[in-house]
């Protein structure tokens, strides 16, 4: 009989039941076909190995998180927006940039100042964008490389019925938008979150391990840093979300009690300078962070430079940072006033976003 085709030999490799008996019998006794089968097996194994790397070496994807993300695009925005912040904040806490900031930042707030043994080392008075490349981010270890991170209090993000309820839940004035930009209509939904408190305990051993993994030697920590605790507090906060008919947020106005950080004893600049000197942080990024955080009142906002452009503007006499995605989809502006961070963002142009921001009451 004629030799079976290459396609038949290929099917013998991984679905032999689909190959007719006569072909199988032929191949078993034909040196030419057995050679062909071996080649097919080798090529199949190579292709499997080359395309399988991302699958076999990793845990399965986080389906819950992925479902929430999809819900953002398919469902009413409130359900979608509400669960996200807690996870994002937690992620932010673990972000290497946060670590680089000397544990100082990201989620600060008010109430923890009452704790007597905590020294306030950072309070947000303004925001500055720090362009970070994806490469920088990938190069950095996460916060757990430097010590233990515990979330003391979750923000309990939830939807409330109206502006009055949002104000009652957060104690913050709810920004009033009098004139909506073209294309944005209807009433907003309201989401609130309580205070998020996280504590980080610096471990010299852990940091040394991280350094060793990177093939570097850890600079010796300044006195008192090993074992010292930092408390990061943010919130409460609220968001008003206007949606398009199809469920995509068209305009978001959010207000959060500004992030604050407290230390169990080590001064801010000591912790900052040390952490900025750790291996793994690119020099130019460290220099920028050092510059921005010189006074302990500027909250650096890590911005992926490949995706987002930043500029500055003025909102009600306050310096504001404007962020625009390079694909033109999103624009946002953020500023700080009296210890409160306010942001306006949407699928809008910069002029429209600034007009809303400047007209907020």
């Amino acid at each position: 009989m004629r030799h079976p085709t290459d396609g038949t030999l290929r099917r013998l490799v991984d679905e032999p039941a689909g190959v007719p008996d006569a072909d199988r019998a032929h191949v078993a006794g034909c040196p030419v076909c057995l050679n062909g089968l071996a080649a097919a097996q080798a090529d199949a194994a190579l292709a499997a190995a080359l395309t399988a790397t991302a699958l076999t070496c990793d845990a399965s994807p986080d389906v819950d998180r992925a479902w929430r993300r999809l819900s953002t695009a398919t469902e009413a925005p409130v359900r979608a927006v509400a669960p996200a912040p807690a996870r994002r904040w937690r992620t932010a806490l673990r972000s290497p940039v946060v670590a680089a900031l000397g544990v100082v930042v990201v989620l600060g707030g008010a109430g923890a100042a009452a704790a007597a043994d905590w020294l306030q080392i950072f309070r947000t008075e303004q925001v500055a964008a720090v362009p970070v490349s994806t490469t920088d981010l990938v190069a950095l270890p996460d916060l757990s490389a430097y010590g233990d991170l515990q979330v003391v209090s979750e923000p309990d993000v939830r939807e409330v019925a109206d502006g009055a309820a949002a104000r009652e839940a957060t104690g913050l004035d709810v920004p009033q938008v009098d004139a909506l930009p073209p294309g944005v209509t209807g009433s907003p939904s309201y989401t609130v979150g309580g205070q998020l408190v996280a504590e980080f305990t610096f471990s010299a051993d852990r940091a040394a391990q991280a350094a060793a993994t990177a093939g570097e030697t850890l600079p010796s920590p300044p006195p008192g840093l090993d074992g010292s605790r930092f408390r990061l507090v943010a919130g409460p906060g609220l968001a008003e979300v206007w949606s398009e008919a199809r469920g995509i947020p068209a305009l978001v106005v959010a207000r959060v009690t500004a992030p604050t950080a407290f230390s169990s004893g080590v001064p801010f600049d000591t912790a900052r300078d040390y952490l900025l000197s750790l291996p793994g942080l690119p020099d130019d990024l460290a220099a920028q962070l050092r510059g921005f955080t010189a006074d302990g009142t500027t909250l650096p906002l890590p911005v992926p430079a490949e995706l987002v452009t930043t500029s500055t503007a003025d909102v009600g006499g306050r310096p504001a940072t404007v962020l625009a995605s390079r694909d033109g989809l999103m624009t946002g502006v953020v500023w700080v006033e009296d210890g409160v961070v306010t942001g306006v963002a949407g699928t809008l142009g910069e002029d429209e976003v600034l007009a809303v921001a400047r007209a907020l009451r």
Partner: protein, 170 residues
């Protein structure tokens, strides 16, 4: 980001929870990057949510769509630009596993080789290696079941040649 139509099929969550990992796996075979594969899976399920594809055909439909969408990403060189990442979300901050296992260079060459394959061959290869049966691949690509093996065989052979040619010329 694609915008959903008004109605989203009622069984979307059920299908999503059942099939999401497999859909990510199909896209990851093409892209070699979990993060990018998850972006593709989002796009694919968004589209699926607007279809009336019977639930029993869902995984086949989703796998084919994932393979095509991922190949489109590969060919266009489209970068990730999700709002989450633009907002500083953590999805892009972990090093890709593929990069730690295969060298970046090899990973890049595999992706380039996949992008150069004829579309039908590339999809057949990815679907078969993702576990679809010969009959499923045949139905998905409008091939006779007998020619699936031939198409996959050609794709694998071309992949090997592409890589050995480029490896020796590097």
């Amino acid at each position: 980001m694609p915008r959903p139509q008004d109605a989203v099929r009622a069984d979307l969550e059920h299908v999503f929870r059942a099939d999401y990992p497999r859909v990510v796996a199909v896209a990851a075979r093409v892209l070699g990057s979990r993060d990018e594969a998850e972006d593709v899976a989002q796009e694919v399920f968004l589209a699926f949510g607007r279809t009336a594809v019977p639930a029993e055909d869902a995984i086949r439909w989703l796998s084919v769509a994932a393979a095509h969408t991922a190949l489109n990403v590969l060919r266009s060189g489209r970068r990730r630009a999700s709002r989450e990442e633009a907002a500083g979300g953590g999805v892009g901050t972990a090093p890709d596993v593929a990069d730690t296992v295969v060298s970046r260079e090899e990973n890049r060459r595999v992706r380039a080789a996949l992008a150069r394959l004829p579309r039908k061959q590339a999809v057949a290869l990815v679907l078969r290696h993702s576990g679809l049966s010969y009959a499923d691949v045949a139905a998905a690509l409008d091939l006779s079941p007998g020619s699936v093996g031939t198409t996959v065989r050609r794709a694998e052979s071309a992949l090997r040649k592409e890589l050995s040619t480029h490896a020796s010329s590097d």
